[in-house]
């Protein structure tokens, strides 16, 4: 999180807000106008780079959308002089009035194209950030701790595939929508988690992806108001954000949910997220994101760790398991079960998934905790050591080291 007292980061945030609002719209309009995803996206990216060069000194223009559109058109005219390849398309753009910003919101098509299942997951992430949120390639590279040339190449390849493999620029049909939406939600949740976990590491020059992911989920919720899973994911993200400030102590150490200062949680945000969950539930189509949001809501609404409604949480994890039969979900259910049925019952559940999760640090950390609860401290120690070997996250490592010292 950047602090509000730093004028540089205040400007950065204002710019980010404008780019998020305007670039996706502009790319979407231009793709439709030019019929060429690659070219339209490239022109807008160039306009964004120009804005980054000029706006911090000249100030953000009164009508940033018009500024970006005019700049993208000027870039198009430059291109006509340089390259013959796109001449016909660009002449069209240079000669006619710019696509009006009042036309219907086309960003849904843009999102589905960027998150097309024929693109690799990393490409979906990078492309969505660039085309829909208006991030620049260097910003994306920093966010994913990748080099700039590697990220640029990933984006070029993905855009080339969209054009050459004929990935259509459209919203999927009714029958395909559920499956394709799952793909989009997975991309958004991954972006959010990437940002959420990264906030433990060296944050100085990394863009806070949680804000972009939450904004994207909100946009998707406005564009697809009848889809309860979108609202579920949005509520889930907002519940995490409402508690984000208490996840670390003043020294950057990780504070577990049970030890967090609940008086500092954002109560209004938690209540609003609860209303979103109810709104989604009223549509009568439950799904994994709604269930995860409901679990997060129960944690957020509990007055203390001890007073948490564990029975309901275990029941929700059982439901989640029906939607997503994965060993990680089963491990999480076991952790909740500990408070309902005791450490021995929880450990039996953990052992059942242990072979599949042997390389997952939280399996070992959980096993260690349960063993200590059962008074088997000697057996717990090698488990904490195994967990320490398996995670690179500095805050998690520090917590495990502390446990090994105790």
């Amino acid at each position: 999180m950047s602090s509000a007292t730093d004028p540089r980061s205040a400007t950065d945030e204002a710019l980010a807000r404008v780019f998020r609002e305007e670039t996706g719209r502009l790319v979407a309009g231009l793709v439709r106008f030019l019929g060429d995803f690659d070219l339209a996206e490239e022109l807008v990216q160039e306009a964004v780079l120009s804005a980054i060069e000029t706006w911090p000194s000249s100030g953000i223009p009164a009508n940033p959308a018009a500024w970006l559109t005019t700049t993208a058109r000027r870039k198009a005219i430059d291109r006509i002089r340089r390259e013959s390849r796109y001449r016909d398309k660009l002449v069209l753009l240079a000669g006619s009035p710019a696509p009006a910003p009042t036309e219907p919101d086309d960003r849904l098509r843009l999102i589905f194209t960027c998150c097309h299942p024929a693109l690799a997951r990393e490409a979906q992430l990078a492309l969505t950030l660039r085309a829909v949120c208006g991030l620049t390639t260097p910003e994306i590279a920093r966010a994913f701790l990748a080099t700039e040339p590697a990220m640029a190449q990933r984006i070029v390849r993905a855009k080339r595939k969209i054009v050459e493999a004929g990935i259509p620029y459209r919203v999927p049909s009714r029958e395909e929508l559920t499956g394709r939406l799952q793909e989009v939600l997975a991309v958004l949740y991954l972006l959010f988690n990437e940002g959420y976990l990264a906030s433990a590491g060296p944050v100085a020059h990394r863009r806070d992806l949680t804000t972009d992911a939450e904004w994207l989920a909100g946009l998707l919720g406005r564009l697809l108001p009848e889809e309860p899973e979108v609202l579920g994911l949005l509520a889930l993200m907002r519940l995490h954000l409402a508690r984000a400030g208490t996840r670390f102590d003043r020294y950057g150490g990780l504070v577990l949910l049970r030890d967090q200062d609940r008086s500092r949680w954002n109560r209004n945000a938690i209540a609003a997220a609860g209303r979103l969950i109810e709104q989604a539930a009223a549509m009568g189509r439950p799904g994994p994101y709604q269930v995860q949001a409901a679990i997060a809501a129960l944690h957020s609404e509990a007055a203390s760790w001890e007073e948490t409604d564990w029975e309901e949480i275990v029941a929700l994890y059982s439901l989640l398991l029906a939607f997503q039969p994965s060993p990680v979900v089963r491990l999480n259910r076991a952790i909740a079960l500990r408070h309902l049925a005791g450490p021995a019952a929880a450990l039996a559940e953990v052992e059942a998934v242990a072979p599949e999760l042997d390389s997952y640090h939280l399996l070992h950390a959980t096993r260690a905790e349960l063993l200590r609860d059962l008074g088997r401290a000697e057996e717990a120690r090698p488990e904490d050591e195994a967990a320490l070997k398996l995670t690179q996250n500095p805050a998690e490592r520090e917590l495990l080291r502390q446990r090994l010292l105790d």
Partner: protein, 116 residues
């Protein structure tokens, strides 16, 4: 846009199939092929002889090496192909999803020479 659908599968599974089952499969493939040819989506394609009949010619600088077998040894092998002409990748994917023989279907766009 024009694409090739490469139908891949496990030949062993095909060989060990009961005859009635195999005949049923061929019938479903025939029906699928017929309807999509009639609609103009399929404009060419063939079934291939088993991979045991494959021969590979490898160019090594100025010389060539001829070997028995496919260029890559894998459980899944190409058993046939269809050339299709559809609006976009989504339509190609929808078509590949209905391929009756299951297995894998690789979709590749064809290079269309605009000067021709």
């Amino acid at each position: 846009m024009k694409y090739i659908l490469l139908f891949c599968g496990n030949e062993e599974r095909w060989d060990t199939m009961a005859e009635a089952e195999r005949n049923g499969m061929y019938a479903r493939i025939g029906e699928w092929w017929g309807s999509h040819s009639a609609s103009g989506k399929i404009f060419g394609g063939e079934e291939l002889q088993p991979v045991t009949t494959a021969t590979t010619v490898r160019h090594n600088g100025d010389s060539t090496v001829v070997t028995d077998g496919p260029f890559i040894e894998a459980k899944e092998t190409v058993g046939g192909f269809a050339l299709i002409d559809v609006a976009n990748l989504d339509e190609a994917i929808e078509l590949a999803k209905t391929w009756p023989a299951k297995g894998l279907v690789e979709i590749r766009p064809l290079v269309v020479d605009s000067s021709m």
